[in-house]
């Protein structure tokens, strides 16, 4: 275990970012570039929509006002269901629906003209409560569907009902979470350029170039090969620049195609907050049964996630919730139903954590409640129930292909923070009501990468130049997390070359095969995996070509110290010399390799299968002080440990942990998208507060490395594990401080009168 404090950080893009030279989407301009803005309606739910664009189109500087009728390709698109109208047709299903686009010479002119678009429709009552929408007699929101249930995932294992009836203790509790805004600091932006060769070129702020390409191709009705998504720096995503951002790119591309000019569409913060999907609010009803010895026997769970008006990735998000609905614990009898339910609220989709923070919030508090009821310590009850090497998960998967380290991880954190001693001196509601103290912790495992959600593969190209420099390209996107740097470091290690030789070639969707989305903490695992395999291939090519020169068999050729060596150390070619030799032999030092994730299995009916090919193990603990007079909860200390297989870029890894904790802290204590009748009331940074430097304490992050055999580089991922358990850790700490259970997010302390 290491904390790696002093190591100097490496990022290939750090210098251009600190000097302000990095060009994000909105920093791009092109000759003759026009500007586009979206037009919204005041409706939340309405039919018979009609949009009169004539007056707007007459305004000074306006080039075109676009509605759904102008779309040459698909109006509706989506990653799973094609239900999202890129421009509204005859209906409005949510307040974020865009009804038209205004394209003008300047942004000001476009904004001015947008006010002149006349919109009328027949309003319908909005359905905004997911539990109501779930009822069989609820009006159906989405045309062409039978009811409002977007999806239903089940876990059926053993006989939970009978097992619960036989338990000594049954804990029955409902938890609720809220809509959360990603609040990436850069709002969505896209610049689309119709090229003379007919290709639509896109510079966009988005996480997934390949997903974006599908959206753009769909709206234009053009093949994938005629759309090229370029990589530009992205000002944060956290899952939030998936379909939402792809749609912004698609709209800009539509405008560019129709006007035959470069078009920029940059979102204002309030549009971004109004329209972009949020984290799903969940209602989680759990019944957990255990025996007096602390062994959990059975869990029954009914979980409803508010999908909002459109499907987006709700079926995938809620699938993860189902797989992980019992936390990292062995439970023989499980009966769980997880539903995504459509409402007229803002839609919900991918957000760092992806369905795990909500279930962890419930399960990790249930474990603390169970500890109290059985008289065991929260650590002890977790030890009794947690998965061990070779154990079977609730989906029937045997954890035998990697190191199951949850105990090591938890014990590390508990010791570092001094959990037992601090728990003993927690206030439990006694003492100074303005300064109650408590400690709390939570643990989890997280299935790595996509699991049974999707096709999981990714590729890398290594293109060595004859002058000794090296181009590396991978089908994983840099979202700010440091993906490119991790790939470079991996290549450096596997080729044994100086890092300075390697230039990361920012791929476009036309230069490298679809590597899947950069989501699910899969960037490092899949991307570095592909780099390792491509490096292997490359070394084989080079070894075979140079074996003679080095006087040894190809298998004996070694790559180290920026050179290529035969068996003896004096049989040595510098890297530069080796490349010259390859040139003379007319051999390309070039390789392409794809990494296919190990197979996973899933049975939708029983919810059984090998859901993920490996797991990341995490524990976070916090200390808090609670002021009952002001209702303020202050975070005093955080200690986190994660077994991520192998640290590729330690300072960046630490940064991911700190950043994940900060976002999780926001969700726990500060953040809630307030809606009223389907309208968001706090769509600005003035009203929607995210953590500032002052809101956060000093944090300690501990890295645990058990290299993972399923990952070619040994590394797994950290993006999401870092965020997904801080809320229950805080809730448990607040309980130890106040004696009050916090079953809602964000946590609100009812103020006591002075």
């Amino acid at each position: 275990m290491t904390t790696g404090k002093r190591e100097s950080a490496y990022r290939n893009d750090a210098v251009i970012k600190v000097t302000g030279r990095a060009r994000y989407a909105d920093d791009h301009t092109f000759p003759r570039m026009a500007h586009c803005v979206p037009v919204y309606s005041d409706f939340v739910h309405a039919e018979n929509l009609s949009v009169d664009t004539r007056e707007a189109a007459r305004q000074d500087g306006v080039l075109k006002v676009i509605t759904a009728a102008d779309i040459p390709g698909a109006v509706r698109f989506g990653q799973i269901e094609r239900d999202y109208p890129m421009l509204a047709e005859d209906r409005i299903l949510s307040h974020g629906d865009v009804v038209a686009l205004v394209v003008a010479e300047t942004r000001e002119a476009a904004l001015e003209a947008a006010r002149q678009v006349r919109i009328s429709a027949d309003p319908l009552p909005p359905l905004i409560d997911p539990e109501e929408a779930f009822r069989p007699d609820a009006p159906v929101i989405r045309p062409g569907t039978k009811n409002n249930i977007v999806n239903h995932h089940k876990i059926r294992r053993g006989d939970a009902r009978s097992a619960l009836a036989a338990c000594d203790i049954v804990i029955d509790h409902t938890f609720r979470t809220s809509f959360v805004e990603h609040a990436y600091l850069e709002p969505e932006s896209a610049v689309c350029v119709p090229r003379p060769d007919g290709v639509m070129e896109v510079y966009g702020s988005m996480q997934h170039p390949f997903t974006t390409r599908r959206f753009v191709a769909a709206i234009l009705g053009e093949p994938l090969a005629r759309v090229e998504i370029r990589t530009v720096p992205v000002g944060g995503g956290f899952g939030g620049k998936d379909d939402t951002a792809a749609v912004v790119c698609a709209r800009a591309a539509l405008a560019a195609r129709l006007c035959d000019r470069p078009v920029k569409l940059t979102y204002a913060r309030q549009w971004s907050m109004r329209e972009s999907y949020k984290r799903h609010p969940y209602v989680l009803h759990y019944r957990m049964g255990l025996n007096r010895d602390g062994r959990v026997q059975a869990v029954e769970a009914r979980i409803i996630a508010d999908a909002g008006a459109y499907c987006s990735t709700t079926p995938w998000v809620t699938w993860r919730s189902a797989v992980q609905c019992c936390g990292p614990y062995r439970v023989e009898h499980v009966h769980a139903d997880v539903y995504g339910v459509a409402t007229n609220n803002v839609f919900t989709g991918a957000f760092r954590g992806f369905g795990s923070p909500q279930v962890n919030f419930a399960v990790e508090q249930l474990m603390d409640m169970a500890a109290e009821k059985t008289g065991l310590s929260p650590l002890e009850i977790r030890r009794i129930n947690m998965v061990t090497q070779g154990a079977e998960t609730i989906t029937g998967q045997l954890l035998n292909n990697h190191t199951v380290s949850i105990r090591e991880v938890m014990d590390t954190v508990a010791e570092k923070i001094g959990y037992e001693e601090k728990r003993a001196r927690s206030s439990r509601g006694k003492g100074d009501p303005e300064n109650l103290y408590g400690v709390g912790l939570a643990i989890c495992y997280r299935g790595a990468s996509l699991g049974a959600e999707g096709m999981d593969f990714c590729s890398a190209v290594i293109n060595c130049q004859f002058d000794g420099s090296i181009l590396l390209e991978v089908g994983i996107h840099e979202n700010g997390q440091g993906a490119e740097s991790a790939m470079i470091l991996t290549l450096q290690e596997h080729l044994g070359v100086d890092r300075g030789r390697i230039t990361y070639r920012q791929p476009s969707t036309s230069s490298i095969p679809d590597g899947g989305p950069t989501v699910a903490s899969r960037g490092t695992l899949m991307g570095c995996g592909a780099v390792v395999l491509a490096a292997k291939k490359l070394k084989k090519i080079i070894a075979e070509a140079l074996a003679d020169t080095l006087g040894c068999a190809p298998e004996k050729v070694r790559f180290q110290d920026d050179a290529i060596l035969g068996e003896a150390d004096d049989q040595r070619l510098s890297w530069d010399e080796a490349m010259r030799q390859l040139f003379l032999k007319r051999v390309y030092p070039y390789s392409f390799a794809g990494f296919r994730a190990p197979a996973v299995t899933w049975d939708e009916e029983t919810g059984q299968g090998d859901a993920y090919f490996t797991y990341v193990y995490s524990c976070q603990a916090v200390e808090v002080s609670v002021n009952l007079k002001t209702g303020r909860v202050r975070l005093l200390n955080v200690v986190a440990a994660h077994d991520i297989g192998k640290a590729v870029n330690r300072p960046m890894l630490l940064g991911q942990i700190y950043g994940g904790i900060a976002q999780g802290m926001g969700m726990a204590l500060m953040e809630k998208v307030e809606t009223e009748g389907g309208v968001i009331r706090n769509a600005s940074f003035r009203k929607y507060r995210i953590p500032k430097a002052m809101d956060l304490p000093e944090m300690t992050a501990l890295i645990i490395e058990n290299p993972d055999p399923t990952s070619p580089s040994g590394a797994k991922g950290i993006g999401e594990p870092a965020l997904e358990i801080i809320a229950p850790a805080i809730a448990n700490a607040v309980y130890h401080a106040t004696g009050r259970r916090m079953d809602r997010l964000p946590i609100r302390i009812e103020k006591e009168d002075a």
């Binding site: 210098v15 970012k17 909105d26 600091l185 850069e186 942990i657 700190y658 995210i690 002052m694 956060l696």
Partner: protein
Amino acid sequence: MEEAELGNEIVEISMQVNGVSVVLRTPANRTLLSILREDLRLTGAKEGCGIGECGACTVLMNGKAVNACMVLAPKADGARITTIEGLGDEARLHPLQEAFVKHGAVQCGFCTPGMILSAKALLDENPNPTRLEIREGISGNLCRCTGYQQIVDAIEEVAARKQGEES
């Protein structure tokens, strides 16, 4: 975008931007941020909110950190403006820029230019801040990626170095 109170009558303003004199005619209701980004193509200052809440647009105006999205053109008349582009370049990084790189204080980088300039203003005023004072000093700058820890580390290192120089 908040409606500016000034009208769109054309005003002439002159500024020193990164040491270069600039004279331009612009509608009075335009912000310093849009002048920098659009007219002068200095895109290092970013727009994260447009209402003075995120600090992504921070520049130094007469040595003080300001949110450029909240400064209307006439207010900038006669001012000395430093943007991130004027602080240092690849060959000669400012110590703060260097420290941000070294400490891994940069992720997506969208907050970074503003954060560094706020840090500069802070250290110019208080060369020896505590970690808590650093946190206070950058509390007008939101960062959604880093959790601020490595940013504080970076600023602290520069402060300590400065202090070393002085004693």
